[in-house]
């Protein structure tokens, strides 16, 4: 369970998160929508401790992410994240990209790490690309590789930050299908997305962020069907 309690976060004078409260239960898929600069990406990077917070608390299965003694490297093994920019390790093949962390972070033997990597790459449809270097693949393939790379750590939670927004429209579908597959398999996920149809389709709950505040949260039917907050209504009207 991920529990976010009254989290505030500023970059210098700019307050980006203004008291966020959100609990995500095991097996749940929560999507976050909202305008540019509303703090969606920042929240994800705070959840796995890549960014510090100013006040409040984020706990993952009871572990306080931002407490002094917390071993973030250990915590991050169970919280995978995939970013908007495809950030393959360009000097490694697809297989090596996915094997690296299981070998070095989990300390698995080469054969075991390779077995896991091949399994995850097959899962996202990249079985044919094992020995290819990332720059020889499309954006959609690189993004699916990034998903496999995160999954190879056997995380219990996955965070996705607009993983399709840097892709050609043609390639969006294959990546969204991969996310849907994970959701159906019961992965606990927080997805930031601009794809409203996708959000409606996979989410248990949808949260709308506006200027650093979570203005509204509810089931897809509630939020898309009968939005309560005027800002949610305005946002949904603008993206339709």
């Amino acid at each position: 369970m991920i529990e976010i309690k009254n989290v505030r976060k500023s970059f210098n004078a700019l307050e980006v998160l203004k008291g966020i409260n959100l609990t995500v239960n095991k097996g749940e898929v929560v999507t976050i929508i909202g305008g540019s600069g509303s703090g969606k990406s920042t929240l994800l990077t705070c959840i796995n401790g890549l960014e510090p917070i100013n006040s409040g608390q984020i706990t993952i299965d009871g572990t306080d992410v931002h407490a002094k003694g917390t071993d973030l490297n250990k915590l991050r093994r169970k919280v995978g994240i995939v970013f908007q920019q495809w950030n393959a390790f360009p000097h490694l093949t697809v297989l090596e990209n996915v094997m690296l962390a299981p070998r070095k972070v989990l300390g698995l033997a080469k054969e075991k790490a390779e077995e896991i990597a091949v399994k995850q790459l097959t899962h996202v449809g990249l079985r044919e690309k094992l020995s290819v270097y990332p720059n020889r693949m499309s954006g959609g393939q690189q993004q699916r590789m990034a998903i496999a790379r995160a999954l190879a750590m056997s995380p219990e939670y996955m965070l996705f930050d607009e993983v399709t927004s840097a892709l050609d429209p043609m390639l969006v579908g294959e990546v969204l299908d991969t996310l849907k597959m994970l959701a159906e398999e019961g992965m606990t996920m927080i997805c930031v997305t601009h794809e409203m149809a996708f959000a409606r389709d996979v989410s248990d709950r949808v949260a709308f962020f506006h200027h650093g505040v979570m203005a509204e949260i509810g089931t897809p039917d509630q939020l898309f069907g009968a939005p309560q907050h005027p800002d949610t209504q305005a946002f949904l009207a603008s993206v339709r």
């Binding site: 796995n48 490297n73 093994r77 995978g80 950030n87 390790f89 360009p90 962390a101």
Partner: protein, 217 residues
């Protein structure tokens, strides 16, 4: 062309000079690179403000002519009664000079690794050290290599200046023979060929590695 007073023992004398050039270069480039990596990483980690004093000192080493550094370095070690041999003094000064340039090359290489790539590595649970070792080091090496090869070749040629501390390296050895035999063109030609023979493999190594890596990135 074959009508020369140059003897086998003169050639051996030149070879000894070349060996001295190689020794000074090898020691200085090795020590200078290790130091340069340490300084370069330190500068990136500390950030521009906190590393300003270090950067300033390195800038001094980069801007004062090497000859002056050698002479001053030699004077300092004798004032400090360190009793260093000219070879030691030469290597110490050249190493610091190399380190100053090398730290700049390393810093540039590390900065060229995208922050998002490093963030991805950390988000997989890699420690700072693992990120440095498995992601930053290989990527920064590719970026830094051409400049580092250039630095190494430059240091090898600049190492001729250690003749001012009395070391008989390749250039000094040639000078001595020219004075004695009065055949400047022929001897300097041989000297040039030796410099080339030493440099060529280093220059080719760079090209080889670049070709090996280029299909990947």
């Amino acid at each position: 062309m074959f009508d020369t007073a140059l003897t086998w023992s003169d050639l051996a004398f030149l070879a000894q000079g070349a060996a001295m050039t190689l020794a000074v270069t090898a020691v200085s480039v090795t020590a200078g690179t290790v130091l340069g990596i340490v300084f370069g990483v330190l500068r990136v980690q500390l950030g521009a403000i906190w590393s300003a004093p270090l950067t300033f000192v390195l800038d001094v080493f980069r801007s004062v002519p090497l000859l002056i550094q050698l002479v001053l370095g030699n004077a300092l070690q004798s004032i400090a009664k360190l009793g260093w041999a000219p070879f030691t003094t030469s290597c110490v000064v050249l190493s610091l000079y190399t380190a100053a340039y090398c730290s700049e090359i390393i810093r540039g290489g590390i900065d060229a690794v995208p922050a998002t790539t490093r963030r991805a590595a950390r988000s997989l649970g890699m420690t700072w050290w693992q990120d440095m070792r498995y992601i930053v080091a290989p990527l920064a090496t590719r970026v830094s290599l051409p400049a580092w090869i250039g630095l190494t070749l430059g240091v090898m040629k600049d190492s001729a200046l250690v003749l001012w501390l009395g070391l008989i390296e390749l250039l000094r050895a040639s000078q001595i023979l020219v004075t004695r035999l009065q055949e400047p063109l022929f001897i300097l030609l041989i000297c040039g060929v030796i410099y080339f023979v030493i440099s060529f493999p280093i220059a080719r190594l760079g090209g080889y590695l670049e070709r090996r890596w280029s299909p990947n990135d």
